[in-house]
Amino acid sequence: MRHALPEGVRRTRGRHTLIVCCGNADRGDDGAGPACADALRLLGAAARCLPGDAFTLLDAWTGQPKVIVVDAIVTGSAAPGTIHRFEIKGGAGAEQFEARLGSSTHGFGIAEAFRLGQITKNVPEEAIVYGIEAASFEWGAGLSGEVHDAVQRLATTLAHEAAQAPRDSAPGKLAAGQ
């Protein structure tokens, strides 16, 4: 369930790196994406919050050379709150992301968006997917403590790098497994 009122969205295409945060705020740690978008906005950085289905992602990143995607993830092999980082160039590399993602709660999800984008030639030249290892997807539970802390770390880093970066460059990197 999403917020009843649409957020103000700064639709910046072209030169800025698009940050897309995916998930459902009412489904436990699946709310990592929306929470990261909220945190980024408080830090003065623009972010779009999307449900995470392939179709809205494809639409959102059309014409965008650089995209950052934030979502909850379950690899089962890392502690809750671990931030996984996947670099995808021209759609290539989505396989390793897909393999570690497991199943998506968004139907045609992020991995499918990259695969479909590759086939239809609608994929960012450069994408970074940050997956925050989730602990629970229980309805109404809110974020677990570990995921909440990870969201704040990631948002702070992304906002800082967005502020530092030239207009036509991407926010910098967060170390894998941070």
């Binding site: 369930m1 999403r2 009843a4 009122l5 649409p6 449900p51 179709f55 809205t56 494809l58 639409d59 199943s103 139907g107 045609f108 499918e112 695969r115 479909l116 086939i119 239809t120």
Partner: protein, 442 residues
């Protein structure tokens, strides 16, 4: 994901498909075969009840419009339409004709988005032998790009009219919070002209698919309006003579609890299962389709009544043609209403309404107290109405293919279920299929 235990001669075979993709929600199909016959067949819905009817108790009636929209991300407009119409009936509100037309236009957007999704991404891969639309897209890239554009146009209509494409926020009891100007709608015209052509091409494409030879003697149920193809208004009619005001719906249609499903099964009293959705609408309302949709149906050799559920994919394409043509007509005739919503007084009463969601008839009833608070409500989504019918189809269809390898039986069973574009999220959420063979057929 599926696992298969090959049948040993004289032994048993078991197929277990952990998830059926390409349906909305979670469910499971369990089939037990023995001696060349189906011993047991259950469409299990283990998803916990979602309890929306309970959430609504004590809430202001106006809130039902937005609360029930959250039942589904694919068809929120259907929920908004049925809810607002039911409450308007309870309070005797007459909406402005242009508001009515605008709601119809809004609904067309949802049909375009939902039908394009189902035809290309959910159902076509079954016919073409692909595990999913992504595999299909490699060979059918132009067609998949067409589907994406169609879907985007439907979403754009919902955004223009509803503020956003998923869970729109513009609809209110009595009308809209905000209505578009004529110039707001103008950019949609060129897009819809393209979509109309693309929809006709879609119908031509799906007509070439291989269809199993399977027909059923369904009782089709849909809304029917004297002048228009049904969307948000009409009497409830059936192919066996039912013709009633929606306020009489519960006198004839019954929801039953079955042990294996947390979604209720709808039946017609003393008659059993029935069929709602595109096939029912087409068969009961063919003459109300605009000329371009009728012409497309004729070109596709689609003649009402269509009784082969697999051919519903063609009917959906014809309904895509309808939705685009109807949207163009409505935009051409649109004048902003003098007031966006009709003022009203809250009062005690009960109101019922049904509208045609992309998957079929969606019934809502609300009993409201003198303060405008909801005392009781009932929501019957199309998938709940079709669940028993889907089981009955499988009882009829699977015997035709019992000689096939269990993998193919599983594939065909899933395809037959997707004839109904089931939204299990609405009815109660991936479907698991388990076929057990207790003999040596293969």
């Amino acid at each position: 994901m599926s696992t298969t235990t090959p049948a040993a001669h004289g032994g048993a075979a078991k197929i277990h498909v952990e998830t059926i993709a390409r349906v909305e929600g979670e469910g499971a199909l369990h089939v037990r075969l023995k001696g060349g016959r189906i011993q047991d067949l259950k469409l299990e819905i283990p998803e916990p009840p979602r309890l929306f009817e309970a959430f609504l108790r004590g809430r202001r009636a106006e809130e039902a419009v937005d609360i029930t929209a959250r039942i589904c991300g694919i068809c929120p407009i259907a929920y908004q339409m049925s809810a607002t119409h039911a409450i308007e009936r309870a309070w005797g509100i007459q909406i402005d004709p242009q508001v009515r037309a605008l709601r119809r236009l809004f609904y067309c957007g949802e049909w375009i988005e939902s039908h394009a999704l189902h035809i290309y991404f959910l159902h076509a891969p079954d016919f073409l032998g692909y595990q999913d639309a992504l595999q299909m897209a490699v060979k059918f890239r132009p067609e998949v790009e067409r589907a994406l554009r169609l879907k985007k146009i439907g979403n754009e209509m919902m955004r223009v009219l509803g503020g956003r494409e998923i869970h729109p926020v513009s609809v209110r009891v009595g009308g809209f919070y905000h209505v578009p100007s004529k110039s707001d709608l103008e950019p949609l015209v060129e897009q819809l002209k393209w979509a109309l052509e693309a929809s006709v091409e879609t119908a031509r494409l799906v007509t070439t698919l291989p269809f199993p030879d399977f027909q059923q003697d369904y009782e089709f149920v849909s809304l029917s309006h004297p002048d228009e193809y049904p969307l948000n208004e009409g009497r409830v009619v059936s192919s066996r003579g039912i013709d009633l005001d929606v306020s009489e719906y519960e006198d004839h249609f019954l929801e039953q609890h079955v042990r294996h499903s947390n979604a209720l099964h709808s039946v017609l009293r003393e008659r059993g299962s029935f069929h709602v959705g595109p096939l029912a609408r087409f068969n009961l309302n063919y003459e109300k389709l605009p000329a371009v949709a009728q012409e497309t149906a004729r070109e596709c050799k689609l003649e009402a009544p269509v009784r082969n559920p697999f051919r519903s994919i063609i009917v959906r394409a014809v309904e895509l043609v309808f939705a685009c043509a109807e949207a163009l007509r409505l935009i051409e005739q649109y004048e902003p209403p003098p007031r966006t919503w009709t003022p009203y007084e809250r009062r005690a009463g009960t109101g019922m309404a049904a509208t045609e969601a992309p998957r079929g008839l969606l019934y809502h009833r609300y009993t409201i107290d003198e303060n405008g608070l909801i005392l009781a409500s009932k929501i019957v989504p199309p998938t709940a109405q079709n669940l028993k019918r889907i089981e009955d189809d499988l009882w009829g269809y699977l015997p035709q293919i019992l000689d096939a390898p269990v993998e193919e039986i599983t594939w065909r069973a899933e395809q037959a279920i997707r004839n109904y574009d089931p939204c299990i999220s609405c009815a109660t959420h991936c479907l698991r299929v388990c076929v057990e063979r207790e003999d040596d057929i293969r």
